[in-house]
Amino acid sequence: MTQPGFFDLLSFGPDGWAKALIAGAWMTILIALSGYTIGAVIGTFGAWAKISGGRTLRVAADAYTTVLRGIPDLLVIYLLYFGGSAAITSIGRLFGADGFISFPGFLAGALAVGITSGAQHTEVFRGAFKAVHRGEIEAAIACGMSRSLRFRRIIAPLTLRHALPGLGNVWQVVLKESALVSITGVVELLRQSQIGAGSTGLPFDFYLIAGLIYLAISTVSSIAMRQAERHFSRGVRRG
């Protein structure tokens, strides 16, 4: 049997892995997007706690960001995957199920990525809020806007604009971090490449392809981010 060449692997033909790889890449994007969204929600609360929370909330938010930026993401994934499985299994026992129930890898992965990126989101949002001029908020108060209106019309849009470059960086980190979710058995891009490498004996080709796809996704998203930055700061005068 002859081994398929590099481009045969990329085809849709009998030796081709294109379909599987596209499905894997799609799963990678799904994990990254869900993790990113969870992280953004956590980050919003984290930033709010750091800016206008009481003492307890502030200390809690500080502890969260310090801890999550100091420990490896892989540990968080292990905690959620194995810890979640152990928790579900013991809950299952209560209801009379026996044997081991495993925690869904996708959920564990997305949560883990979300919790780790939440720490970065928190700092990005906090920094962006600080960049909003006090005068803008004062002007909104002077116009008689209520608290919620002020947040919706003035603070949120301005904060988002300042946060955009930081958010782009966090997205790049999340995208790369999603590769770690492969250890839970979710068939995303890296896991799919492992499967391909195992069944064809061509690990270099498969990991090279995976690397190129990651590079393509990150390049496309950085271009999109730059467009978005330009779009949302079109009202800003420069120089």
Partner: protein, 241 residues
């Protein structure tokens, strides 16, 4: 929480700590040399070198570290030429593959930090050194590099912390460093929370010490930004008056 189990876990994780530290230290040291070379290539003004460094940084920052590790550890063995070469004893070894991947990866990030430091050196300083008659290499060694290092240090500290965290990925290619041992204990006992707390504590402790160390070096390297002690007293005395 089971105190005895926690203690046992702590002892087995701490005995894996030297491996984590040696991975990180070797990768940071090798990465720093490569990063300096890349940063010099970027700032050299020679088009070929500049584009090589740009491409390098783009590729290594745009792909996950785990893919890079797999490509080196599993990927290279695909080629008989590699298996029969003199490098095989190194490339067969998971430890060295992890070190190579981590070094190549950190070099990409660190080169940008160093480049920022090099660019921040005020032109006047270089002019002054030239005016003193220093040759190019001496200007670099005595003026540009020390100023650049001082400027790049805070960013470099963050990169070192990232590297400490990144060594955990070596556990996926069978290296039993702290995270590897933690994963083994978790999969044997299914007590994820205790093991996580102990392992997390160890990583936090390393990173806390590292941050302090970088702060200390930063302090030592910037005597010109501090007021001399007697001058500070003079200011206080002046205020009182």
């Amino acid at each position: 929480m089971d105190w005895e189990f926690t203690q046992e876990t702590f002892i087995s994780l701490v005995s894996a700590l030297p491996l984590t530290l040696s991975l990180a230290a070797t990768a940071i040291a090798l990465g720093a040399i490569l990063a300096l070379a890349l940063a010099l290539a970027r700032t050299s003004g020679i088009v070929v070198l500049d584009w090589f460094a740009r491409a390098y940084v783009f590729i290594f920052r745009g792909t996950p570290l785990l893919v890079q590790i797999f490509l080196i550890y599993y990927g290279l063995s695909q080629f008989p030429a590699v298996r029969h070469s003199i490098f095989w004893p190194v490339l067969r070894d998971a430890y060295w593959c992890a070190v190579i991947a981590l070094s190549l990866n950190t070099a990409a990030y660190a080169s940008e930090i160093i480049r920022g430091g090099l660019l921040s050196v005020p032109h006047g300083q270089i002019e002054a050194a030239r005016a003193c008659g220093m040759p190019r290499l001496m200007v670099f060694r005595r003026i540009v590099l020390p100023l650049a290092i001082r400027q790049a240090l805070p960013g470099y500290g963050n990169e070192m912390i990232s590297m400490i965290k990144a060594t955990s990925l070596a556990s996926i290619i069978t290296i039993m460093e702290v995270t590897g041992v933690a994963a083994r204990i978790i999969s044997e006992t299914y007590r994820a929370i205790e093991v996580f707390l102990v392992a997390g504590f160890i990583y936090l402790a390393i990173n806390f010490l590292l941050t302090r160390l970088v702060q200390l070096v930063e302090f030592k390297l910037s005597p010109h930004l501090r007021q001399p002690e007697n001058a500070a007293e003079a200011v206080i005395a002046g205020d009182a008056r």
